[in-house]
């Protein structure tokens, strides 16, 4: 009996803590979104209220969509993020495999060399990167952003993936090798599927800073054609800082795609992580 009560209160405690933190996480985002749908007076007089028929207004959204090519910004961000992500995951998995599987002269040093990138923000090399971009004639292209983000994301991805690769049972690989399976086939058909959960984790970690980066778009690709959402929003806020309708609407628009994409992908992500655990 007491055990049951204990269990019940433990469940209640768990739910309470989780709900509390969920509330804290959601509150700012919800606040922005509800106020984005209100008129200026509505925003100021009662920020916490839901939009009513009196205060409901879409003026902010009209302004944002009229004044800035938001969908285009979004498309740019998507291309850069997905492009970088695919390359990082592929190249990092390949490198991690080579480093953890093949012991060759200097492999340790190579691993250390590649790990340095985790520690140093690549931003410190901005001016040289810009000079490179000019040399390759890549300024104001999405290509240069992808290249820089791949360089930036590789070290951490290699490190995390190496850790996972080391945990793959030796027997699996040796068995395949005994059957005469080629190294490339082993990598693509046996190893990659095995590290899927790790790949999911790495994907999230590398995707986030890329999507949110303000710095490199600003320096390397500030042209209107190549602006990303983050840069677009920053410029928009700078321009309309006191026009709260427009600012809140632009924030909502910037948040919404991430929100949708995440809700869609998070099931995949969590399944990936759990699948790895159950193995």
């Amino acid at each position: 009996m007491t055990k049951n009560i204990g269990k019940l209160s433990a469940t209640a405690f768990t739910q309470l803590v989780l709900a509390l933190f969920t509330l804290i996480s959601m509150f700012p985002i919800v606040l922005i979104i509800i106020n984005a749908f209100k008129s200026r007076d509505g925003i100021f007089d009662n920020p916490m209220a839901l939009p009513t028929s009196e205060t409901f207004s879409l003026v902010g959204f009209h302004k944002v969509l009229d004044k800035s090519p938001f969908l285009h910004f979004f498309e740019n961000s998507l291309i850069v993020t997905v492009g970088s992500l695919v390359l990082i995951l592929l190249f990092a998995a390949m490198a991690a495999w080579a480093l953890s599987e093949y012991k060759f002269k200097g492999s340790r040093w190579l691993a250390v060399y590649l790990a340095f990138g985790i520690m140093v923000p690549i931003r410190l090399g901005t001016v040289s990167i810009l000079q490179l971009a000019v040399q390759f004639n890549l300024v104001n292209t999405l290509t240069i952003l992808v290249l820089v983000y791949v360089a930036q994301g590789l070290p951490l991805a290699i490190m995390i993936l190496s850790e996972f690769m080391q945990q793959i049972p030796k027997e699996l690989k040796e068995a395949a090798r005994c059957d005469g399976v080629g190294e490339f086939k082993i990598f693509f058909q046996i190893i990659l599927p095995l590290i899927r959960p790790a790949v999911a984790t790495v994907a999230v970690f590398t995707m986030v800073p890329i999507w949110n980066d303000l710095w490199f778009p600003l320096i390397l690709a500030p042209g209107e054609e190549t602006q990303t959402v983050t840069l677009g929003v920053q410029q928009f806020i700078g321009q309309y800082v006191t026009d709260w309708n427009a600012v809140l609407a632009s924030l909502s628009l910037a948040v919404a795609p991430v929100l949708l994409m995440y809700i869609f992908a998070s099931r995949q992500l969590i399944r990936g992580i759990t699948a790895g655990a159950v193995k």
Partner: protein, 416 residues
């Protein structure tokens, strides 16, 4: 081999996507994001009436990122053809590094008086590298409705100023002064160097500092800091976290009676405030004193020395020196006053009023703009910090003056 293939692939990708400025088109770098629509709808079409073949693009970066991203783009050789220039040393530095062209003898420049060109020339005055575009005048804007309701007159002296503020505070309905210290720059640029000018008698004090004849620890400068330290009781609650945007929102909403501001704010309040706007110059210490205004040369235009299209850039600069541009710029960008010698009729009443102060008061520029920002510690940054602390009640006027003077003395030898 791998590297070569990689380079080639990169080059091909670049060819497919690159879109750099070519001959026949000009890109303007600027921090005036607010003016984007105006350039696109008014100024560039006006220019194109004269030069239909030159395609002009106005490409602004938010003010906070402007300097750093411009530096990066200039270094990388990707900056636009025309560069909007900050006044004095920041641009002088660009010129010294060979990043912008000298404009001596170029058409358009002759339409500006020497006083306007000071901000964009070498120390010896021999080389001009920027076309003066506009100045801004600092002053205090007030809500006429509130003043009428409380039966108040725009103050002339500092005593009157505090009496007015006190009366507004007593009424309990309005914040007397809309001002915050979160962004810091206002504390220096629109409080200290604007309200302080009458204390140090504008140019007289500014030049004496440069000549080493006066010090920041001398009475007029300490008095300016002291004035500032008395403002706190009249600011909104939580002003320490109030940004400039908050200040604008607060004053525009009609909940504050006065705002220390500059002429650039007129157009914002014209569109966003629902009451009639008034303006008065910084109050003077004693009745009958001469008034001084900070009439700051703020925006210039230079030509990128790496521009591939300098001829067209010079044509644009020439056009910027014309009567037409001066008129359009002054009247469409309300609150930015053309620096050219052309006669221009200002249409906005508040802008006109502020411009007329040039006749009744003495003009000066921001105290530290010329020469004083050159060394380390950087005086502009120091003044932001120190003035914010004075407003926040964290530093006394005396300490503030001493700190600025110590930093200045560290590197500056007068008459050098």
């Amino acid at each position: 081999m791998q590297a070569k293939r990689f380079t080639r692939a990169a080059l091909i990708a670049a060819l497919m996507t690159a879109g750099l400025a070519q001959a026949g088109s000009l890109t303007i770098e600027s921090w005036r994001v607010d003016d984007k629509a105006l350039w696109e709808d008014v100024l560039i079409p006006a220019f194109n009436k004269k030069y239909p073949d030159i395609k002009v693009k106005f490409s602004p970066t938010a003010p906070t990122e402007y300097d750093s991203s411009l530096t990066a783009r200039l270094t990388g050789g990707t900056a636009g053809d025309l560069i909007t220039l900050r006044p004095f040393d920041k641009s002088l530095d660009l010129f010294k590094k060979g990043q912008i062209e000298a404009l001596n003898g170029k058409k358009g420049i002759e339409n500006f008086p020497a006083s306007a060109k000071v901000a964009w020339q070498t120390d010896d005055g021999k080389t001009v590298f920027g076309l003066p575009m506009a100045s801004v005048i600092h002053g205090i804007l007030y809500n006429k409705k509130v003043f009428q309701e409380l039966n108040l007159q725009p103050p002339k002296t500092t005593d009157e100023f505090f009496k007015v503020a006190e009366a507004i505070k007593k009424s309990g309905k309005y914040t007397p002064i809309a001002l915050g210290t979160a962004d810091q720059w206002e504390a220096n640029q629109i409080v200290f160097t604007s309200f302080g000018a009458p204390y140090w008698k504008g140019e007289e004090g500014r030049k004496a500092l440069i000549a080493g004849k006066e010090k920041f620890t001398d009475a007029p400068f300490v008095a300016a800091f002291d004035f500032e330290s008395k403002l706190a009781p009249y600011l909104a609650k939580g002003y320490q976290a109030q940004t400039y945007g908050d200040t604008q929102t607060l004053f525009a909403s009609g909940k504050a009676a006065m705002v220390p501001a500059g002429s650039w704010d007129i157009s914002y309040y014209n569109t966003n405030a629902k009451f009639e706007l008034g303006a008065f110059p910084p109050p003077v210490p004693k009745a009958g004193d001469k008034c001084y205004i900070s009439d700051h040369t703020d925006i210039g235009m230079g030509v990128n020395s790496k521009s591939k299209n300098k001829d067209d850039a010079y044509k644009f600069v020439e056009w910027m020196g014309s009567q037409e541009f001066a008129d359009l710029y002054t009247n469409k960008v309300t609150g930015f006053f053309s620096l050219s010698s052309h006669l221009i009729a200002v249409k906005d009443p508040v802008a006109k009023q502020m411009l007329d102060w040039r006749k009744s008061c003495s003009s000066t520029i921001r105290l530290n703009a010329q020469i004083m920002n050159r060394g380390e510690p950087n005086m502009e940054n120091e003044l932001w910090n120190v003035n914010s602390q004075v407003l926040n009640g964290k530093m006394t006027a005396k300490d503030a003056a001493a700190r600025i003077q110590t930093g200045f003395e560290k590197w500056y030898k007068p008459g050098k």
